[in-house]
């Protein structure tokens, strides 16, 4: 079958997980048709690290984030999360596509927060949060509910359990979305421009929740335009442009003393 051939990608012999970091990306490429969006991304995220990814729009930072939980399939390269190759199984030097349920199992360990919240509008706040634990992890409903109420407390919305998403402000919706992702007890949280769709006065409440998460040791990858957050909360900063990592390192270093012309040009526009 021709379809099967496409999914088997040739790989060099003896590829091993290059490090014990939580996320390891190795030469990640992604194309949409003839448009190459990612042109070889190498990076590692250690356990407990907060990595912020900045860059102009169209630089591929969101696409890269979506590759991490396999919402986008890589065109080339490898990506490991928690020691598992995302989306594939490697056997005798060949890659085999994972079944859909296996990919789903991998994803359940990675939380994701979207720019546009994407709460389920037909479910209450509580329903949104317990949906995945009950349906995917088969957690008893009472237990999932108790945990959900704890999470709501943590994101500062203890009285919104019975509200529906469209009754909440954008900032509240995004905090519920964070609680929903946390309910799966992920070992990694991905944030895709979590404050970009918010009114300016609501940005702070979402960043506060994220700061609290970071302080409690959550491993986070955050695509953001909030330079203040990146500087204060981030352990590392990655500047991407045109599908490559231009510069990476300590946030204060990169923001304060950028080494590349492209980084300087970008920062001069946003700072």
């Amino acid at each position: 079958m021709s379809e099967q051939n496409e999914s088997v990608i040739e790989t060099p012999e003896g590829v091993e997980l290059p490090s014990d970091a939580l996320v390891v990306a190795e030469n990640v490429h992604k194309s949409f048709g003839r448009l190459e969006v990612l042109k070889g991304i190498d990076l590692q995220v250690e356990r407990g690290e907060v990595m912020c990814i900045i860059g102009p729009s169209g630089s591929g930072k969101s696409t890269f984030l979506r590759c991490v939980n396999h919402l986008e399939k890589l065109t080339a390269g490898r990506l490991w999360v928690n020691g598992e190759l995302m989306g594939y199984r490697q056997k005798r030097g060949k890659l085999y596509e994972l079944r859909e349920t296996e990919v789903a199992a991998q994803r359940s360990d990675i939380g994701m927060v979207f720019q546009r919240f994407n709460l389920f509008p037909h479910l209450t706040v509580l329903g949104n949060i317990i949906e995945a634990p009950v349906q995917v992890k088969r957690v008893p409903k009472a237990q999932a509910t108790a945990k959900a109420l704890d999470l709501l407390e943590r994101v500062g919305l203890p009285d919104k359990a019975t509200a529906y998403p469209d009754q909440l402000s954008g900032g509240q919706q995004q905090r519920v979305a964070i609680a929903r992702a946390l309910a799966m007890e992920p070992s990694l949280m991905l944030f895709d421009e979590p404050t970009s769709a918010l009114d300016p006065e609501l940005v702070g409440e979402v960043l506060d929740v994220m700061r609290d998460l970071a302080e409690n040791g959550m491993t986070m990858m955050v695509v953001t335009h909030e330079m203040g957050f990146a500087r204060e909360v981030g352990d590392s900063l990655v500047f991407m442009d045109d599908g490559v990592v231009v510069e990476a390192g300590d946030p204060a270093e990169v923001l304060g003393n950028p080494q590349h012309e492209r980084t300087r040009a970008f920062l001069s526009k946003v700072l």
């Binding site: 991998q106 359940s108 546009r116 994407n118 389920f120 037909h122 349906q135 992702a181």
Partner: protein
């Protein structure tokens, strides 16, 4: 007192004179009303003076036992064919949108066939299936070929039933209507599923939900909001299409019964008027139901649906 108070509270609105103006006149409305009144009175006059209507006869026979039974057949056929049609439509829509090229093509072919053949033709066709197969048998396929090839006697058929017993007129007609409805519902449900924002599927997938769970728990419930109003229209259309059962023929059906009485008594026109009145009466009831359902499932407004279903405070 008097004069503006110096304070920090915002200024109260100032009093104002309400507008009083001479409204625009519409004399053409009076002309139109006059013309309509004239035509309406001519129509009513005809209803009472033309003997072909034979109102007493119509009223006598409109509520006779076989006709009332026919009404129930019409209602049951509507409900059953819609239920089967909706289930079939969900299956076909999911097949169509699945990544599986075989299932997707089968669904397309099904829809193509059942939307392309008139319901009247389908009804007559299903009524005559007994010509094609006198008996319906369950067994292994192509048994006459491979059993002969293996040198075996007899056949590999385990169950056999006379087609006319299985496919009574009513069942045949119901199949024609529900299979056809399945094709239309498939398109409506497909449009509903596609109307759900892609971000919903992505969020559910990111949480680790499998494709079938995403469909059942996230996409389908949200699609309903878009699917339900046109389904109301389909139900009303189906009620009228049950008249096609008369051509299967289903002899216990409303239109068949009314026509039969008309033919037997040479009172064809009163019975046709009775048919109009019966269908109008039932569709009117359905339209009231549709009005409430559409108000509840006002597209684009989640608050609307929910508050009326769960009585939530808003």
């Amino acid at each position: 007192m008097g004069g503006p108070e110096p304070s920090n509270t915002p200024a109260p609105g100032r009093p104002a004179e309400p507008i009083t103006a001479v409204p625009v006149r519409y004399p053409e409305r009076w002309v139109a009303a006059g013309a309509v009144l004239l035509l309406a009175s001519m129509f009513v006059h005809m209803l009472f003076t033309n003997d072909a209507f034979n109102w007493p006869f119509m009223v006598d026979h409109m509520f006779s036992d076989p006709v009332v039974r026919g009404v129930w057949v019409t209602i049951s056929a509507t409900v059953l064919s819609m239920v089967i049609g909706i289930v079939l439509g969900i299956v076909l829509a999911v097949m169509r949108l699945s990544g599986n090229p075989v299932l997707s093509t089968v669904s397309w072919l099904y829809t193509w066939f059942f939307r392309g053949v008139p319901r009247l033709v389908l009804a007559v066709l299903f009524g005559n299936l007994a010509i094609l197969y006198q008996t319906i048998e369950l067994g292994l396929p192509f048994d006459n070929y491979w059993m002969a090839w293996l040198g075996l006697e007899g056949d590999a058929r385990f169950f056999e039933i006379d087609t006319r017993t299985l496919l009574s007129g009513y069942v045949a007609g119901l199949m024609a209507l529900s299979l056809s409805e399945g094709a239309y519902m498939a398109e409506i449900i497909r449009a509903g599923l596609q109307s759900v924002d892609k971000g919903q599927t992505e969020a559910a997938q990111a949480l680790g939900m499998s494709r079938s769970k995403v469909l059942r728990r996230i996409t389908l419930p949200q699609a309903m909001r878009v699917v339900i109003p046109p389904t109301g229209n389909e139900t009303i259309a189906m009620l009228k299409d049950t008249a096609l059962l008369a051509y299967v023929p289903v002899t216990i059906e409303l239109f068949y019964q009314l026509q039969a009485i008309g033919a037997r008594t040479y009172q064809i026109f009163p019975m046709l008027v009775a048919a109009c009145l019966w269908y109008l009466a039932i569709t009117s009831v359905l339209m009231v139901g549709q009005y409430f359902i559409e108000r509840r499932f006002n597209p684009g407004q989640y608050g609307g649906i929910r508050n009326r279903i769960v009585g939530g405070a808003h």
